[in-house]
């Protein structure tokens, strides 16, 4: 059900620029908290019918989890799945909030309203990718297939964590390298860690949207959802525990390793303990999902709806990359060859004990250069897979409107 303009009766949408409810028909603005309409009361009694009731057992199996509502503007059929809380009417394009079916325990307490508008999000994406040396021209000139502003459910978590950890690291001991072991035990208190609550999204993608400025959170009001899509949380206590445990371990190991002066540091053993404050805060945080097709594959770019942070890894221009690799490789080889042709005879004729060590260091340097370069390329490829992930595309696309 949409909240209607008290001046002209058109559906109101939340406007990120003014942070107010906007009537796109007559241009009126209203504070979201001020819009105390009949609609909010009516929403309490809003009833949905399951697809099975409407279409019987012949309904499409993919639709079995959906619920049917009527659009408050045109009476058209609105279908939402079990976790959606707001959507757009496919017939008249009006925003519809279907929050009534959510019980109080499932209703968010806080919301971080969009501050980045749709056009701004697209502009930010173009700004980022236009600077990309290896991004193909076709992607730089992309036209989005679909741009959706989605409020993602998050649980804001407080937790205490302790760990006793043994870390191995390599240090120089005279001429050789030895492995040493270090012990670190301690505790930490994590405050306001956002844990994404939509099972349809991968944690790896949503974590990259961080940080969100949680000091800007407002008390939840469903009018903020108007004009955007939204989901409710469908994760379990086990999911939350697993995410917090992983993040806490990362934070603890990072701090422990910073204290240790050694190379190739690794956690050899650890015994963590975690206690999560059960009184977690439930909040809706904003993100833009922009999808486009390139060479038959769908890519989804995420934009933090509050900070404007752009998250994506895009396919690369392989021809340009390998051409530059060969050109720079040849140039650097020629320079190195002339330098080494002069230096090598001097080094090798000195009969010093350090000759072998110097050659060893050069070979090691070459290996490090290759390994670092290849690891960067592999990281990009891994993140491209994430950007082209079907799950994130389905999360965005499988919505009405």
């Amino acid at each position: 059900m949409a909240t209607l303009c008290r001046n002209c009766g058109h559906a109101l949408v939340f406007d990120p620029a003014s942070q107010k409810m906007l009537c796109e028909a007559c241009g009126s603005f209203f504070e979201a908290e001020e819009v105390e309409s009949e609609v909010k009361r009516l929403r309490q009694d809003l009833k949905a019918e399951s697809v099975r009731n409407v279409y019987g057992d012949d309904a499409d199996k993919d639709m079995m989890d959906c619920y049917i509502y009527s659009c408050s503007e045109c009476g058209g059929e609105i279908s939402v799945n079990g976790t959606e809380a707001s959507t757009t009417c496919i017939y008249c394009g009006n925003p519809n909030v279907v929050f009534s079916r959510i019980s109080r325990q499932k209703c968010p307490e806080f919301i971080l309203p969009f501050t980045i508008s749709k056009d701004e999000a697209i502009r930010l994406v173009h700004e980022k990718i236009d600077r990309g040396l290896f991004i193909p021209k076709a992607i730089k000139e992309f036209t989005p297939d679909c741009v959706r502003g989605i409020y993602i459910p998050y649980w804001i978590v407080d937790a205490d964590y302790t760990n006793a950890m043994v870390i191995s690291g390599q240090v120089r001991n005279g001429k050789s390298t030895v492995t040493r072991f270090y012990g670190r035990a301690g505790n930490m208190r994590i405050r306001r860690l956002p844990v994404e609550g939509a099972s349809g999204l991968t944690d790896e993608s949503s974590m990259k949207l961080e940080p969100f400025d949680l000091t800007k959170l407002r008390d939840f009001d469903e009018d903020y959802l108007s004009g955007f899509y939204s989901n409710v949380s469908d994760i379990t206590y086990g999911d939350v525990r697993s995410v917090v445990n992983k993040r806490a371990l990362d934070f603890f190991s990072e701090a422990a390793m910073q204290e240790i002066k050694a190379s190739n540091k690794k956690v050899a053993n650890s015994r963590p303990s975690l206690c999560i404050n059960r009184d977690m805060k439930y909040a809706m945080l904003p993100a833009w999902f922009i999808t486009f097709k390139h060479k038959g594959k769908t890519n989804t770019i995420l934009v933090n709806g509050e900070s404007g942070k752009v998250v994506c890894a895009l396919p690369w221009n392989k021809v340009l990359f390998f051409t530059l690799l060969v050109i720079i490789g040849i140039l650097a080889t020629v320079v190195s060859f002339f330098a080494l042709r002069g230096l090598l005879p001097v080094i090798l004729s000195s009969r010093s004990k350090n000759n072998g060590r110097l050659l060893g260091a050069i070979v090691m340097g070459i290996i490090v250069l290759f390994a670092t370069g290849i690891s960067k390329v592999r990281r990009v490829i891994k993140n491209i897979v994430l950007t082209q992930d079907k799950a994130i595309f389905d999360f965005t696309k499988k919505r009405q409107g």
């Binding site: 043994v166 040493r180 301690g186 990259k208 379990t236 190195s336 070979v363 370069g373």
Partner: protein, 120 residues
């Protein structure tokens, strides 16, 4: 000598090229590849035991000697139960009042002094 210089030069040249272009590709195509750092969540670690050069025997026993198990004050919950907000009754029952400052209150760093007694 020239052949040796050429072999090393090829390694250095293409290694350097690989390193430069790997970094450039990461900068160019891998956008926003970062997550919130521990400082954003006030996760300052307070080390109670720091030991360098652990012997083999210490290494085996370090975790069991210094691990501190935190007691969960809440009743056990089935991990497959969907997460939900606590009711007012539950909050009173558990004696919890979340100290997460919400909304719009500044998040201050926690004072860890005295919260955890040093183990060592």
């Amino acid at each position: 000598m020239d052949i040796l210089a050429l072999i090393i030069a090829i390694g250095l040249g293409f290694g350097l090229s690989c390193w430069i272009l790997g970094r450039k590709l990461d900068e160019s195509n891998n956008i926003g590849d970062s997550t919130g750092s521990r400082f954003q969540y006030s996760a300052d670690v307070h080390f109670t035991v720091s030991k360098d050069r652990l012997s083999n025997r210490d290494r085996e026993s370090f975790c069991s000697d210094y691990a501190k198990k935190l007691e969960d004050p809440y009743p056990a919950v089935n991990p497959s139960t969907p997460v939900r907000r606590l009711t007012e009754k539950e909050r009173e029952e558990y004696g919890v009042s979340s100290d997460i400052p919400m909304p719009s209150e500044p998040c201050e760093k926690p004072d860890l002094e005295g919260v955890f007694a040093p183990v060592d």
